[in-house]
């Protein structure tokens, strides 16, 4: 909240114009760098042009941020995505919360990696600069049509901005986009390096240079992806991390391909193979991301994506399509043109034999990952494919993605489990098997513990058929998981347990090997740590989604909702419903005294037609081994009036009783005042009410006021309940009563999600492992400053390449 603006609104129009000029300058400088690279100018000169273009982008970005921080609502983009009451962090995040700003973010993140990696490109510098600058020039082109620096039309009210979409307003908008876009920026560097390697006709030197950056890209995109999952989990209220949405897939596919590159480089270094494959694997992630961007932003997905994006400016979309198709065609043509040369100069790759050795595993793993990437990429293109074939649109749903990708996923876990124990030289099955005795024993033990935990009768949650049940509550046999798109059903709990067992096996294998190698090989530890983190995350995802339990009900002061051994009671709100930080307090209490207070966010903003629009923010109570995930939803609001609901009309004969929540009602009999059928006649129905506090008497009535007009008051009976006489059936003498909630009664969704902690921990470990790997690879990089000295430093096989196999002779 900043009531006093730093600078008057409208004062920095000139600065915004400068931003526009800087984008234009970035485009021109980049074009000059492209031209210079073609004309074979001095690489230092073209490099300076590229850096100058990047600095222009940085300047434009800084200006846009200044405009946001100082509330310059005369700019349309600032007006749309910020407002006076936004905290500073949201004003900063406003920069990338819309279409234009996210393109600018892509531009500067790419530029950052361009500027950093340019110094390390050695002999490839000329080609690298040209390719990189061409990309930046195209982005400058997009940004001149999709400019965040356009002014609002003259005369538009600019006292306050429209504000960021409330669904975006949380800390993830501050950190998730910059992280993942830095990853996307690094993909540009990988692409430019691959192109340069082909142009400069050297497919060996570049892998040493690109290696740490491929790890950085892998880690940034991976961490960014997971942050997106956390965002969904923490805010959306459906309790999951991942749903195969096209926007998620747009980042998932490049991530998978970079993972292939990272492993492909191992093969190239050790076996002198896979040169072309690695070039392709380095170029593809950028192209895949570009394609995904086109798909999600172009409107081709139409209504089939959950995310709705604003329509892009037509010219900007044209440049985007031109950029991506040019990048694809150029990549293909460059490879095709290099092939004749490569056939002449291809080194004799080292042969390998046997299935139980590193090359076979890396190779198979890469293929499985590529399979995953390919089916995901195809799946998200299905709406496009269908519309190109002129058929009705279709979408690939979560279940289908899960079915298809599991064919690659399960073998991948096996590879990650066995991989760490392999060497480049093949070993016999018996030798390998011996190394897994301890791991297998540990896995069996852990699965046994889990199984006991699942079937343990003292717990309040049951997990389907595996559960024997516990006193008073029989086991629920209904939980089945459909396999192969419904071909057959398996009981959920044993299936989840089997997958978890497989993952645990891989976890223990990596952990054990990590300790063995802690002293001898640092580089392999980074990799194993990353694998450990990935598998741990997957274990958490499988377990928490597969065995999640859900309870839906209503919370109101007059009742207690039983949920997972707790009794939930609502205790009011922390603020008013128009406050973005408003929380509904729900007390969860166990009979043994264990309790916690869930504070689940609920507030309203005015929607399109002025009707209030609900916003929720789940409360997540982390326990050691499980989360209780609480979403308090809104009551019904009709015509601006809240309707908290209540009972159906209940017909009672005199002397009959009814119960609602903890209240018992007894109808005492009808008393009529006035002449029935004339106006002013009153039908009184005295009712005795037994409340938790004691007994009381109330008299609801119906009074005829005029034609079709009646007085039917809601009589307060305490605890937020009201009793109303609905009607009296003259034939049967039954009186129909309605019990109303007179204070908010909230629909509530409560999830029990076991082992979600694994997801968070796993992502953290994966990130650390990834950066650690990048760091170690960075130290081993030979970096000749001048191209001429490059050829003399023939990259030798680094000692750590084989360090994980000390007993084996160095083969390369």
């Amino acid at each position: 909240m900043n009531p006093q603006p730093l600078l008057p609104i409208g004062s920095l129009t000139g600065l915004g114009m400068l931003g526009m000029v800087l984008i234009g300058a970035a485009g021109l400088l980049s074009l000059a760098a492209v031209f210079g690279s073609f004309k074979n100018w001095d690489v230092k000169q073209t490099g300076r042009l590229l850096i100058a273009g990047s600095v222009s982008f940085f300047g434009a970005f800084a200006i846009l941020m200044t405009l946001f921080i100082t509330n310059q609502f005369q700019f349309r983009y600032v007006w749309r995505h910020s407002a006076l009451d936004h905290e500073m962090s949201y004003r900063v995040a406003g920069v990338w919360s819309g279409q234009e700003g996210s393109f600018l973010l892509w531009a500067i993140c790419s530029a950052v990696f361009g500027v950093i990696t340019l110094r390390f490109t050695g002999k490839y510098r000329r080609g690298f600069t040209g390719v990189y600058a061409a990309f930046l020039a195209a982005l400058a082109g997009i940004l001149s049509f999709e400019s965040p620096f356009f002014l609002n039309p003259a005369g538009a009210p600019i006292i306050d901005g429209n504000g960021m979409s409330p669904t975006l307003m949380n800390y993830w908008i501050v950190i998730h986009p910059p992280t993942i876009f830095l990853g996307f920026g690094a993909l540009t560097a990988l692409y430019a390096w691959a192109m340069a390697a082909l142009i400069h006709r050297d497919l060996d030197t570049w892998v040493d240079q690109v290696r740490p950056w491929s790890l950085v890209a892998l880690t940034l995109v991976g961490t960014g992806l997971c942050m997106g999952g956390f965002w969904a989990y923490e805010t959306l209220g459906w309790g999951g991390f991942w749903m195969w949405d096209p926007v998620e897939n747009t980042s998932f596919v490049p991530w998978v391909i970079v993972a292939c590159l990272v492993h492909g480089i191992f093969i190239q270094k050790a076996r002198k193979k896979w040169h072309i494959a690695n070039v392709v694997l380095a170029g593809l992630p950028f192209l895949a991301f570009g394609y995904g961007t086109f798909l999600t932003r172009s409107g081709f997905l139409g209504d089939t994506s959950v995310h709705s994006f604003a329509q892009m400016d037509r010219s900007a979309l044209f440049i985007l399509i031109a950029l991506i198709s040019t990048a694809m065609i150029a990549f293909g043509v460059t490879i095709a043109k290099a092939m004749p040369w490569w056939k002449q100069n291809r080194p004799e790759g080292l042969a390998s034999s046997g299935a139980l050795q590193k090359e076979a595993f890396y190779s198979l793993g890469t293929k499985l990952l590529l399979f995953m990437g390919a089916v995901t990429g195809f799946g998200m293109s299905v709406p496009l494919v269908q519309s190109l074939m002129g058929q009705q649109p279709k979408v690939v749903e979560e279940q289908l993605y899960n079915t298809v990708t599991s064919f690659a996923f399960i073998p991948l876990i096996v590879l990650m489990a066995i991989g760490p124990f392999l060497t480049w030289k093949g070993q016999g099955f018996g030798v390998i098997a011996k190394k897994f005795v301890n791991t297998l024993a540990l896995t069996i033990f852990a699965v046994g513990v889990l199984m006991n935990w699942l079937t343990w009768g003292g717990r309040e949650v049951q997990f389907g058929p595996l559960v024997i049940g516990f006193p008073g509550q029989p086991a629920d046999f209904s939980q089945q998981t459909s396999m192969l798109m419904g071909v057959f059903q398996v009981p959920t709990a044993p299936w989840v347990l089997a997958l978890t067992g497989l993952c645990l096996f891989a976890l223990f294998a990596n952990l054990g090997r990590m300790f063995q190698l802690a002293k001898t090989s640092k580089t392999s530890i980074g990799g194993m740590l990353t694998h450990f983190g990935v598998i741990m995350t997957m274990t958490g995802l499988i377990f928490s989604r597969g065995l999640q339990q859900k309870i839906e009900g209503i919370v109101h002061p007059s009742k207690e909702l039983p949920a997972f051994g707790y009794l939930a009671t609502v205790e009011g709100t922390t603020s008013s419903f128009v406050d973005r930080n408003n929380k509904v307090k729900v007390r969860f209490e166990k009979p043994n005294g264990d309790q916690f207070l869930a504070k689940s966010g609920l507030y309203f903003t005015p929607g399109q037609d002025g009707a209030p629009q609900e916003h929720v923010w789940p409360h997540i109570q982390h326990h050691g081994i499980y989360d209780i995930y609480v979403v308090v939803r809104a009551f019904v609001i009709e015509d601006g009036q809240p309707d908290f609901g209540g009972s159906e009309p209940v017909g009672l004969m005199p002397g009959q009783r009814a119960e609602f929540n903890r209240y018992v009602f007894e109808y005492k009999g009808l008393k009529t005042e006035g002449t029935p059928g004339t106006f002013g006649a009153t039908f009184k129905t005295p009712v005795s009410v037994w409340t938790p506090e004691g007994e009381k008497s109330v008299t609801p009535y119906v009074k005829l006021l005029g034609p079709g007009e009646m007085e039917r008051p809601i009589i307060d009976i305490g605890d937020g309940l009201g009793l109303q006489l609905d009607r009296i059936d003259a034939a049967t003498n039954q009186a129909f009563f309605i019990v109303h909630y007179t204070t908010p009664a909230y629909p509530i969704q409560i999830f029990y999600k076991p082992l979600t902690g694994f997801v968070w921990w796993g992502v953290g470990i994966m990130t650390i492992g990834g950066f650690l790997s990048a760091w170690y690879r960075r130290r081993s990089r030979p970096e000749p400053p001048t191209p001429s000295s490059e050829s003399t430093t023939e990259p030798a096989v680094k000692p750590e390449e084989n360090a994980d196999a000390p007993p084996q002779p160095v083969e390369v």
Binding site: F577, G640, P747
Partner: protein, 139 residues
């Protein structure tokens, strides 16, 4: 002999992977969930049909006791169809103009297990249309 073998292996590998990928692609296409109109929904079997259309605002009825929402969809051919959604409505239902109900016909109504809402985001609107602030009291 050896030379032929050297040439055939990569070709064979490529053929196998292409056919696997094509097979998977065909399988995904045929198993993908179709978008249907009201008329098609009535004649198509399945529980993953995506019924898409305009939401008739006045028809929305939220039933918190039974945890379900009922409403009417007007599809792009102008046909109306009643929908019952099992579960609470999505948080932005109040603002939605178009919805996609995922489910299938059960008797005369379309029963959905998943609702996707499309909101004409006010956050892309032009200045001058700034909505009034919301008035809801907590009582």
């Amino acid at each position: 002999m050896h030379g032929i073998k050297m040439k055939i292996r990569p070709l064979l590998g490529a053929a196998v992977s292409v056919s696997v990928l094509c097979g998977v692609a065909m399988m995904m296409l045929s198993n993908a969930s179709p978008y249907v109109t009201a008329a098609q929904a009535k004649t198509t079997k399945g529980n993953n049909l995506h019924l898409q259309g305009d939401l008739i605002k006045e028809s929305v009825k939220v039933d918190h006791q039974n945890m379900q929402v009922s409403f009417t969809i007007k599809d792009d051919e102008g046909q109306m169809l009643d929908v019952v959604h099992k579960g609470l409505p999505p948080a932005n239902m109040g603002d939605a103009t178009r919805v996609v109900a995922v489910g299938g016909m059960q008797g005369g109504t379309f029963t959905s297990h998943k609702l996707i809402t499309k909101c004409p985001s006010k956050y892309e609107s032009e200045p001058g249309k700034h909505p009034e602030s919301v008035k809801i009291d907590q009582s």
